[in-house]
């Protein structure tokens, strides 16, 4: 097995071009576990730990550019203001040791439907982009085009994830995850939700309940319609039980889960509906309070 340790980003891109099957590693919280279990035996490992820019983030006021290796612990500590949904998701990742090492780049690279960051990224809106780079240049991949199959993403063989671009939250965001114990657990299923008052949209993200992380498109459209038609963005008035109920049902309908050792398909659908209702309620209550206090 080749072990490649580029010192700079350009060297890393060159190495990936030369060894397209090389498996990038940063925190190693996913890659090393799979290697220890003998699931993967990559021909080469591309260690990105010397490239310090990957552990940096910037915020220009409207978009956070999050380096691929910024660990979850720092997302919680430093970015829960601009990225509240992602920070809530980061809280649910593994143990403190895992959160000190693992980052969003690894979640995206692995593209597991159970990755905790995905629902929050989807909910953050359609203007989330994965910055993918190769010796051929840089592409901004919209998050909706990123996940293409079970543990498959749309990166080309010579590309590396450099950063993720996520709009700064302009409204409340929430994230909920079901596990069969109260910490250190892979998601049975998860749900991310965000209100985007600036453009009058809402965002959703479903985890662990389909071959890929996915958006509940009909639920989003339904809710956006209700909010617009009833002038609720402006008034901040109560949504009403039937709207919340319907939203939950549409989220549930958007999932296509399976039975596995972690849970049943029925339970996943059921709990998605509950999480959708609850996260919507929490977000709307917060939004409503903001509107009323501003009025």
């Amino acid at each position: 097995m080749e072990f490649l340790r580029p010192a700079t980003w350009d060297e890393a891109l060159a190495a990936k071009a030369e060894y397209p099957t090389a498996l990038p590693i940063s925190g190693g919280t996913d890659v090393m576990v799979e290697m220890n279990f003998d699931v993967h035996r990559p021909s080469a490992i591309l260690d990105l730990n010397r490239i310090t820019e990957l552990t940096e983030w910037t915020n220009d006021g409207s978009v956070v550019r999050l380096g691929a290796s910024v660990p979850y612990a720092r997302i919680i500590d430093e970015l829960s203001g601009p990225l509240p949904g992602l920070a809530l998701a980061a809280h649910t990742v593994g143990s403190p040791q895992i959160r000190n090492r693992g980052g969003v780049g690894g979640n995206l690279g692995g593209a597991s439907p159970a990755g905790d960051a995905h629902p929050a990224l989807l909910a953050a809106g359609r203007d989330v982009f994965v910055e993918a780079a190769s010796v051929r240049g840089t592409r901004m991949i919209p998050i909706d085009e990123f996940y293409v199959g079970v543990k498959r993403n749309s990166l080309a063989a010579d590309e590396l994830i450099r950063a993720v671009h996520i709009p700064v939250a302009d409204g409340p965001q929430q994230f909920s995850k079901i596990g069969t114990r109260n910490a250190m657990v892979i998601a049975v299923c998860a749900f991310g939700f965000a209100l985007h008052p600036k453009n009058g949209t809402v965002g959703t993200g479903i985890g662990s309940a389909a071959p890929t992380p996915r958006r509940a498109v009909e639920a989003e459209e339904y809710l956006q319609g209700v909010l617009a038609e009833r002038g609720l963005w402006e008034s901040g008035d109560l949504l009403g039980a039937e709207v919340i109920q319907k939203f939950g049902e549409l989220v549930k309908a958007a999932a296509s889960p399976i039975d596995d050792v972690r849970g049943t398909a029925d339970y996943r659908r059921h709990s998605l509906a509950v999480m959708a209702r609850r996260t919507l309620t929490w977000c709307w209550n917060d939004y409503s309070k903001q509107i009323r206090s501003a009025a």
Partner: protein, 790 residues
């Protein structure tokens, strides 16, 4: 005991002060700091110059005929020193704890997913792993025999072991069975005496011991043709007894030394890699180390028997039990392991700590193509407790009685008889334990105003901000035996040496006791301090140079090996005093050892131990045997079968998110009679640990097996409680001495594991109103698959 209550002149008080680190004190574990800091050497940390790494090829099929094994490609891998199959075994090819029915390496067929077929020794673990993959096995895959119905119909589905191969009393696919009848049994006439009858079917999933230190050890070939094995195990001598015939060596040439054990809980009672490492070392002439990976560990040891149980209880209108009719079916998997003894426990303890005039019981263990099951903390009593305690709650509901009062009304006490006919001849404060646990203050209700999400179901997974949460409270009590039963003489041996080192009297305690975390090393030193009046005690490494200490299981080590240390120390004490009498002509009848001196209670200090011992060491070995027991009658289950009984009562308080089916145990209270707490801190730790393992079984721990295949052999998917799942566990200890036991003590480790699970499930029922006849309770059982209201 004697050193504590010295009477006499006041000026003797200081010199007569017993060590605070004697029995009843709570000195800290000698290995505690090392373990917390990660500096303790576990068996997997061992290294030997020039050593090889061993690895096993395991079957991917639960049932198959092996048509051929081709090792030629594996042997060609550079760095490979040996590839072995059963054909290379020099001695007997079978071993087993109770029945020698398990091949050391598969012979012509495999009977469970993960069964070892061949071994590789190589100069690097990665080399060994690659070589294992190059062994070609041709299988004829057969449909596995996995359900109770399939096992009990061998005509249709076949045999796990051909009947002519049975080395026990098994028949069909039944490995062992025990019947029991007491009183009038359960007949229509007896049923007619009951005003209320409740019945239920209950199911317990397959729990794993989930110890953190994987199976590992180092085998070193010796010049005399023997083998030295450094090993994490629960019983050095029984390992040796099983290993020697396979290695074709006399027992004295198989020398075992205990290596650092990372937890056991019954999972190290059977052999794992012991024979494999020794075979490879014999064959290569080099030291061989084997360390299981985490997934291999799930295949490398036996588990807790999954159980299906049917219970029927009858009572009078005022709540007095009239009869209990029970059938317990345990899935023993492919090989016998400890199944016979587990069946004996289930049958003899399966009615719970209650006086029931008429009992009928039938307990069996099946042979199947599921993973083998054997010893795990609670040993047959755990499964049954879930059945009978659920029944008690049901009966209370049917009678409109308080569930604790119903239990107290029927609780057994000293002088009562077990359904086996054995009279309880030491304290059995079942009703008092229940009263005390009920009287302990309840935790405050959930504070929804100042919510800390870490304290509610889902915790930081952020599934609730208070919505859907309902509190429930449940009670339970359980019974467990201590020590090996049914006529087994599981004696313990201890050697104690007293000598002067560096101007101080020092005691050395040498036993073969496996320290697996239970605290024996702490307690042995405490006993030596108390009996010999010294401060300095050295614990000799456990090995087979001294006689057997029996198994670190059945809550027996403090009782049995602690008892042996007491006997040996008393003998040393007598020898020392006798030496003084001979030298100084003492005639006092009140001589004891305190504070490094030989002291007469009336006349004061006589001589220092240092002066009396001089250069001489007193070195004595003693065996401790518990009182004899007898096997249960096969048909009636009658017999004085158990050494001692132990009881624990629990109260669980849970918060359940009833919409999502998530559970947070808020508090788990335990009250237990321990006879005498030799080390109160360790006793509380054992009870809290036992409760936590019981919590795991209640709400999360299960090896999921489908068609004989293990589906979750990892800590990613086999979940054990984290600190956020583990509630405060207030513990109250009673010390009612058992006159038959050393210091009056009662084994501690298992009783809470038996009793705590049903209290948690009762609390979840209380919160949800659901029947919950299967454990572990999963979120879908509380939501989408509600298997019936109460």
């Amino acid at each position: 005991m004697s050193t504590r209550t010295i009477q006499g002149q006041k000026n003797l008080q200081n010199i007569n002060q017993a060590s605070k680190d004697g029995i009843g004190g709570s000195p800290l574990r000698p290995d505690g700091n090392l373990k917390v800091k990660g500096e303790f050497a576990y068996s997997s940390d061992m290294w030997h110059e020039d050593m090889l790494w061993g690895m096993a090829l395991r079957s991917p099929h639960p049932r198959a005929n092996i048509l051929s094994v081709d090792i030629s490609e594996a042997l060609k891998v550079p760095g490979v020193y040996a590839v072995l199959t059963h054909e290379d075994i020099p001695g007997s090819k079978y071993y087993g704890l109770e029945i020698q029915d398990q091949p050391a390496l598969a012979i012509d067929k495999v009977r469970y997913h993960g069964e070892a077929i061949a071994l590789v020794a190589a100069d690097h673990p990665e080399t060994a792993r690659r070589a294992v993959k190059k062994i070609k096995v041709e299988y004829e895959v057969l449909t596995p025999i996995v359900t109770e119905e399939q096992c009990l119909d061998p005509e249709t589905h076949g045999y796990v072991h051909e009947p002519h191969e049975y080395k026990s009393h098994g028949y069909g696919n039944i490995c062992h069975e025990q019947k029991l009848v007491s009183g009038l049994g359960v007949t229509d006439e007896v049923r007619a005496l009951a005003d209320v009858i409740v019945s239920g079917d209950y199911e317990v999933g397959m729990q794993d011991q989930a110890f953190l230190g994987p199976e590992s050890g180092l085998a070193v070939p010796a010049e005399d043709g023997g083998i030295d094995l450094y090993i994490a195990t629960q019983w050095l001598h029984v390992d040796r007894q099983q290993m020697a015939p396979v290695l074709d060596l006399p027992e004295e040439k198989v020398r075992l030394t205990l290596a650092g054990v990372g937890g056991a809980f019954g999972g190290r009672e059977d052999l794992s890699m012991q024979i494999h490492a020794c075979l490879l070392a014999q064959h290569t002439g080099k030291p061989v180390k084997i360390v299981y990976s985490r997934d291999e560990s799930f295949f490398g040891h036996v588990h807790r028997h999954p159980a299906k149980m049917h219970y029927e209880h009858g009572a009078t209108r005022d709540g007095k039990l009239v009869f209990a009719d029970c059938r317990i079916v345990l899935d023993g998997g492919a090989y016998a392991s400890a199944s016979p003894a587990v069946v004996g426990n289930a049958a003899s303890l399966g009615h719970g700590p209650y006086v029931i005039p008429n009992v009928k019981m039938h307990a069996i263990a099946l042979y199947s193509n599921n993973p083998s099951c054997g010893a795990m903390r609670g040993f047959g009593a755990v499964q049954a407790a879930f059945g009978y305690e659920t029944q008690m709650d049901r009966l209370a509901a049917a009678l409109g009685m308080d569930p604790v009062e119903l239990r107290q009304l029927n609780a057994m006490a000293e002088g009562d008889f077990m359904p086996t006919g054995q009279q309880i001849d030491s304290p059995a404060p079942v009703a008092e334990l229940l009263q005390r646990v009920k009287d302990m203050p309840l935790p405050p209700p959930l504070d929804t105003e100042h919510l800390d999400v870490r304290q509610i179901p889902g915790a930081l997974s952020n599934t609730s901000h208070g919505e859907g949460i309902v509190r429930g409270v449940g009670y339970s009590v359980g019974i467990k035996n201590v020590g090996f039963s049914e006529g087994f003489d599981d004696y313990s041996t201890a050697r104690v040496r007293l000598e002067v080192i560096g101007g101080e009297p020092v005691a050395m305690v040498h036993t073969a006791m496996a320290e697996v975390g239970q605290g024996g090393v702490t307690v042995h030193a405490q006993i030596a301090r108390t009996e010999l009046g010294v401060e300095q005690v050295t614990i000799h490494p456990a090995n087979t140079e001294v006689g057997s200490a029996g198994s670190t299981s059945a809550s027996r080590q403090t009782y049995m090996t602690g008892g042996a240390v007491k006997l040996a120390a008393e003998a040393v004490k007598r020898a020392l005093i006798e030496k003084g009498r001979r030298r100084y002509g003492w005639t006092h009848h009140d001589i004891t050892l305190v504070g490094g001196k030989v002291v007469s209670e009336s006349a004061g200090p006589l001589v220092s131990m240092v002066d009396l011992l001089g250069d001489e060491a007193i070195d004595l070995t003693r065996e401790h045997h518990h009182r004899p027991t007898v096997p249960f009658d096969k048909e009636t289950g009658q017999g004085f079968g158990h050494v001692q009984y132990t009881f624990c009562a629990n109260r669980a308080v849970v918060d359940v998110d009833v919409e999502l089916g998530l559970v947070k145990v808020v508090e788990l209270t335990a009250v237990q009679d321990v006879g005498k707490a030799l080390n109160p801190l360790s006793v509380v730790g054992q009870i809290q640990g036992g409760c936590t393992q019981a919590l795991g079984l209640a709400v999360m721990e299960e090896i999921i097996v489908r068609d004989g295949k293990v589906r979750n052999a990892s800590f990613t998917d086999y979940l054990i409680p984290t600190i956020l799942d583990t509630p405060p566990i207030p513990v109250e200890i009673l010390e009612l001495p058992d006159p038959h036991a050393p210091y009056g003590l009662r084994g501690v480790g298992e009783a809470p594991t038996v009793s705590a699970t049903p209290s948690i499930v009762a609390a979840i029922r209380n919160a949800t109103g659901l029947a919950l006849n299967r454990i572990p309770v999963r979120p879908e059982h509380l939501t989408t698959e509600r298997p019936g209201e109460l």
